[in-house]
C-alpha cells in the first residue's frame, strides 16, 4: 500500500497507437502496438476502408480482420480470446448475409440486419473511446499542476487510507503467510516415531557415545522433542543401550553395551 502523495499518471500512448501498414493488396504489416480490444480493431479497419459504419461491407472487413489475426499469430503475439470470439461473430454475420431472404416471409415483417447488434456495439464503443480520449486530455492538463509537498503534520499520520480491497488484499496476504507457517509446521512434524528411532539408533550404533542433551537440542519443535524422548526410552528398553550419568547433574550419555 503506497502512501498518499497522489501519483501522477502518464499514459503509454505512443506505443499503443497501432498502425497497419499496407504493403500490397494481400499483405499487411503491423506497426507495433496493441488494440484495446476487438471492437477497437474493427473500428480501425472500418475507418481504413472508409466504410460507412451503418453499412459495413462485412465480407471485406471480415477478411481484413482475419488477416490481422493471422498476422498477430505469425508474430507469436498472444491474442486475447476476445479477438477470436469476434472473428467467429464476423464469420457468422457474413454467412447470414449470404443467405437468401426467406421469400415466404411477409415483406412487411421486419427484416433484421445481422449486422445490427454489432453496429450498436461499435457505436457504443466509439462513444467510450472518445470519453477515454477526453479523460486522457484531462489528465494531461492535470499533470501540469502539483500539490503540496509533505509537511510535518502529515508525518504524524504515517498511515494508509484503506479501501475495502485493501482489506481483502491484506487478508489474502495474511492467509498465505498463515498457510506457509502451517505447512512448515506440518513438514517438521512429519518425522514419525519410527524415523526418530532409526536416527537415534544409527547414531548410537555408529560407535560414539551420544550426549542425550545434544539430541534434545537438535529437535526443532516440541513435537520432535517428545518423539525423541519416547524414542530414547524405547531404545533403552529394547536395545542393548544404557544411559550413563557420570556426575550428579552431569550430562547423560547414551552408550551401547
Amino acid at each position: 500500500m503506497e502512501q498518499q502523495q497522489p501519483e501522477q499518471l502518464s499514459f503509454d500512448f505512443e506505443s499503443v497507437q497501432p498502425h497497419i501498414v499496407r504493403e500490397s493488396r494481400d499483405q499487411i504489416n503491423l506497426e507495433l502496438g496493441e488494440f484495446a480490444g476487438p471492437l477497437d480493431l474493427l473500428l480501425y479497419l472500418i475507418k481504413q476502408e472508409q466504410a460507412n459504419i451503418f453499412d459495413i461491407p462485412i465480407a471485406r472487413i471480415t477478411d481484413e480482420y482475419l488477416k490481422y489475426i493471422r498476422l498477430m499469430k505469425s508474430m507469436d503475439v498472444s491474442l486475447a480470446a476476445d479477438f477470436i470470439v469476434m472473428a467467429a461473430t464476423l464469420i457468422e454475420i457474413k454467412s447470414k448475409m449470404l443467405l437468401p431472404r426467406d421469400p415466404v416471409s411477409d415483406a412487411e415483417e421486419e427484416f433484421e440486419d445481422p449486422r445490427e447488434e454489432l453496429v450498436n456495439q461499435l457505436l457504443e464503443h466509439e462513444k467510450f473511446k472518445r470519453a477515454s480520449e477526453m479523460l486522457y486530455e484531462r489528465s494531461t492538463v492535470e499533470q501540469a499542476t502539483f500539490s503540496r509537498g509533505k509537511i510535518e503534520t502529515d508525518e504524524n499520520n504515517l498511515e494508509v487510507s484503506a479501501t475495502v480491497f485493501d482489506i481483502l488484499k491484506v487478508f489474502r496476504k495474511i492467509m498465505e503467510r498463515h498457510k506457509e507457517e502451517v505447512q512448515m509446521e506440518i513438514a517438521r512434524e512429519e518425522m514419525s516415531l519410527a524415523d526418530m528411532l532409526k536416527n537415534i539408533k544409527a547414531r548410537i550404533f555408529s560407535g560414539k557415545a551420544v550426549n542425550l542433551l545434544d539430541i534434545f537440542k537438535e529437535m526443532k519443535s516440541k513435537n520432535e522433542l517428545v518423539l525423541a524422548f519416547i524414542a530414547v526410552l524405547e531404545i533403552v528398553r529394547t536395545e542393548s543401550v544404557i544411559l550413563v550419568q557420570e556426575k550428579v547433574f552431569g550430562d547423560i550419555i547414551l552408550r551401547k553395551i
Binding site: 498518499q4 502523495q5 497522489p6 501519483e7 501522477q8 499518471l9 502518464s10 499514459f11 503509454d12 500512448f13 499503443v16 496493441e34 484495446a36 480490444g37 476487438p38 471492437l39 459504419i53 486475447a80 480470446a81 476476445d82 469476434m86 456495439q121 457505436l123 457504443e124 464503443h125 466509439e126 462513444k127 467510450f128 473511446k129 472518445r130 470519453a131 477515454s132 477526453m134 479523460l135 486522457y136 484531462r138 489528465s139 492538463v141 492535470e142 499533470q143 501540469a144 499542476t145 502539483f146 500539490s147 503540496r148 509537511i151 503534520t153 502529515d154 499520520n157 479501501t163 475495502v164 480491497f165
Partner: protein
C-alpha cells in the same frame, strides 16, 4: 465530532480567510467548506465567501499557487504555467502508466457506475479483469457493493482519487456521454 473551541470574539472576515488558508494548506486532501464550517463553528456560507476571497487574493497577486475546487473539496496547487520548472525541480516524477485498455475501462466505469465486470465486458468487447485490478490498485476505482443479480457480482465506481487526478470537482463535471454520440458521425 468534538467541539472544544471556547466562546470567542466572532472572527473578522480577514481572519476567517486566513484560517481557511491555513487549514486548506495543512489538510492532506481536498477539504470541503462543510468540514471547515463544522470545525470552525461558522456558517457554511461564511466559509464559502472566505474561500472565494482567498481564491481572488491568489489570483490578484499572480501567485505561483492557486486555490481550486477538486474532488469535492478545496486544495492548493501550483499554477500550470510553471509545470516545467516544478518538474525540473522535482526531477523524478513517479509515473504510473495507464494503458489504453485501462483508460477505456476507466471511462466505462466513470460513465456507467456502479457497474459490474460482465457489463464492462459487454461494452468494451474485451475481458477487463486485469484493467479493473490495475485501476483498483491505483485507487482510481473502488468497490461499490454488489449487484442483486445472479452471482451477486461486485459493482465498481470511481473514487475521490479519480476526481483529483483528472481535475474534477465532482462527477457532474464530466461531459455527458451523449455529447460524444453527436461526434460519432
Amino acid at each position: 465530532m468534538e467541539l472544544e473551541i471556547q466562546e470567542k470574539q466572532p472572527r473578522s472576515i480577514g481572519e476567517l480567510v486566513a484560517i481557511c488558508e491555513a487549514l486548506i494548506f495543512v489538510s492532506d486532501e481536498p477539504v470541503s467548506a462543510k468540514i471547515l464550517a463544522e470545525v470552525l463553528q461558522e456558517e457554511k456560507e461564511a466559509i464559502e465567501s472566505a474561500i472565494e476571497e482567498l481564491q481572488a487574493e491568489y489570483e490578484q497577486r499572480e501567485s505561483g499557487l492557486r486555490v481550486r475546487e477538486i474532488g469535492g473539496g478545496w486544495q492548493f496547487s501550483t499554477r500550470t504555467e510553471f509545470h516545467e520548472e516544478v518538474r525540473q525541480f522535482l526531477k523524478t516524477r513517479p509515473s504510473a502508466k495507464l494503458s489504453l485498455a485501462s483508460l477505456e475501462t476507466l471511462a466505462v466505469v466513470a460513465y456507467r457506475q456502479p457497474v459490474t465486470v460482465p457489463e464492462i465486458l459487454e461494452i468494451r468487447g474485451v475481458q477487463s479483469a486485469s484493467s479493473i485490478k490495475t485501476l483498483l490498485d491505483k485507487r482510481l476505482i473502488v468497490a461499490k457493493g454488489r449487484k442483486e443479480t445472479v452471482g451477486r457480482p461486485m459493482l465498481y465506481g470511481t473514487s475521490k482519487d479519480f476526481l483529483i487526478q483528472f481535475g474534477l470537482k465532482d462527477l457532474s463535471e464530466l461531459p455527458s456521454i451523449e455529447d460524444f454520440e453527436d461526434l460519432v458521425n
